[in-house]
Amino acid sequence: MERIQLPDDVHPKIIQALLDMETDIKIEDVLDNEMILNMGPQHPATHGVLRLVLRLDGETVMACVPELGYLHRGYEKMAENMSYYEFIPHTDRLDYIAPMSNNVAWVLAVEKLAGIEAPPRAQYIRMMIAELARMASHLVAIGSLAMDVGALTIFLWTLREREKILDVWDILCGARFTNSYTRIGGVANDAQPEALAKVKWFIDQYEENIEEVEKLINTNRIFVDRMDGVGVISKEDAIQIGFTGPNLRASGAAFDLRRATPYLFYNEIDFEVPTYTQGDCLARYFLRVDETRESAKIIRQVLDKMPRGETILNSPKKVLPHKSEIYSSMEELIHDFMIVNFGINPPVGESYHAIENPKGELGFYFVSKGEGHPWKCKIRSPSMVNIQAIPLLVKGQMISDVVAIVGSIDPIMGEADK
């Protein structure tokens, strides 16, 4: 039986939520023609499939209800059905602009649950790739924010820089993008000298390229006017609504998980945590540019300090042995079989570990019943909580400001929808 229905009309519950929202905007010359506008899931400026249903009076936004779920792929349910090792490629696709960062977060959380620790060289390599991922993510954020506001050249320039980072990852592990490079107990293979040399070359030439970008738009009247004073959020509101990452630091709270709960070897590296107090879109943009500079500084120190040694832990019950040993020795073959088929079997209990993702705080909460796959896995994604603040930020602004605000918060829907 066929039924003709308009399947993606706005659901009545959303209309109800939109009309119920408190709005204390006072407009002098009320046009008396409110309308409901759908900035639908397919839109060039919404950074993925985010749907914003706006209630407008003329061009001023009175209220906004974001709707997520267009990219909900069922990660948490799948994680309950596969072992900890099998889920590593899935973590790449969470925040797909900085995939290495998610890999590092997952293996750190599993290692905390299992009670093992990777050797020092692996930890330094993980720090290096996490900071490269941060630079890649912020470059795309800056580029697409500038493109949304109108400066198209910046997008091509920052993508050109990002291509160099992708070349580094290509040499390091074979895949440009969505590379599942980290393993439980270390990293998949050692960093080749060509890769390290290329990283050094990239860092050395990065400073002048980012300065070119800054010279073009930092004092541009149109760019500054479109972003200055737009989407302001105060420090208390930011902490209350759950902002983390660059969005929080642009509102004045100097909170960085690398300093607050240090992981890997961040307490031995000297870096600053840039903070701005204005809390508007321009501050978030400046903060991201500054953070890329700090990341370059961190990578330089990591390259100097990287120790020699092995890159994967030698713990047979929990870490996959090397392929060459599997083919030649009986013990390693048995361990490989057990780990691949039954999993690493961490002890019964639960644990939560979070790292500083380029978007905010990415955390994994595991409940383990002693089996090879988790009983429950929760992904605390920063983008979902960041999008929660959009209704607060767009009240009273114009429609074109909505585009700038969404761009400056920088959500990634793969993470927000899980």
């Binding site: 066929e2 399947p7 659901h11 519950k13 959303i14 939520a17 119920d20 997520l68 779920g69 909900h72 069922g74 948490e76 349910k77 799948m78 059905n81 905390k112 649950l113 009670g115 902490i239 209350q240 609504i241 759950g242 709270a253 909170f255 607050a260 709960t261 209990g349 639960e350 644990s351 939560y352 979070a354 705080e361 955390g363 909460y365 409940v367 009983w375 429950k376 929760k378 605390r380 979902m384 909580v385 929660q388 929808d417 899980k418």
Partner: protein, 162 residues
């Protein structure tokens, strides 16, 4: 500051009839108590001068797939002043699948509770806007429950005609 002793002590002073189970695994402090205290305990933990747990990181639920106390609602909260993380757990039974909301204490919990409702079916009392988060509104099931199959139930979601 040794939070592992201070927090249960302070909670005992403020709420004498509260019965807390304290556990500490992998350096994470966990407190488990009855669900009717959750709003008062959260308010106290946030407003207390010494503790100041002003940041709510995560709200989720666990489905144990047993007959009694099938679900457990889990809260992760963080104190930016002391850089300390705390976990609160409350059991919810299937016969009375409701719990008080903490979105009046921390606004972050608004969408996180909506997600828990969507995935597990736990209803939150006095929540300002309890709708589904990820699945379409017409969907009748709760996906993350242990009795929902991984490939879904055929016919529960619609596709357009080719």
């Amino acid at each position: 500051m040794n939070f592992k002793e201070i927090i249960p002590q302070k909670l005992k002073e403020k709420f004498p009839e509260l019965d807390i189970e304290v556990s500490d695994f992998r350096n994470d402090l966990t407190l488990k108590f009855d669900k009717k205290f959750i709003r008062d305990v959260s308010f106290f933990l946030k407003e207390d001068e010494e503790l100041q747990f002003n940041f709510c990181e995560d709200v989720t639920a666990i489905d144990w797939a047993v007959r009694k106390n099938r679900f457990t609602v889990v809260y992760h909260i963080f104190s930016m002043k002391h850089n300390f993380r705390l976990r609160l757990k409350c059991d919810v039974d299937e016969s009375d699948l409701t719990i008080d909301t903490v979105s009046s204490v921390w606004k972050t919990a608004n969408w996180l509770e909506r997600e828990t409702y969507d995935m597990y079916g736990v209803k939150f009392n006095n929540h300002p806007d309890l709708r589904r988060m990820y699945m379409p509104e017409e969907f009748e099931y709760h996906p993350l429950r242990k009795d929902f199959p991984l490939m879904g139930i055929p016919g529960s979601l619609s596709l357009p005609r080719k």
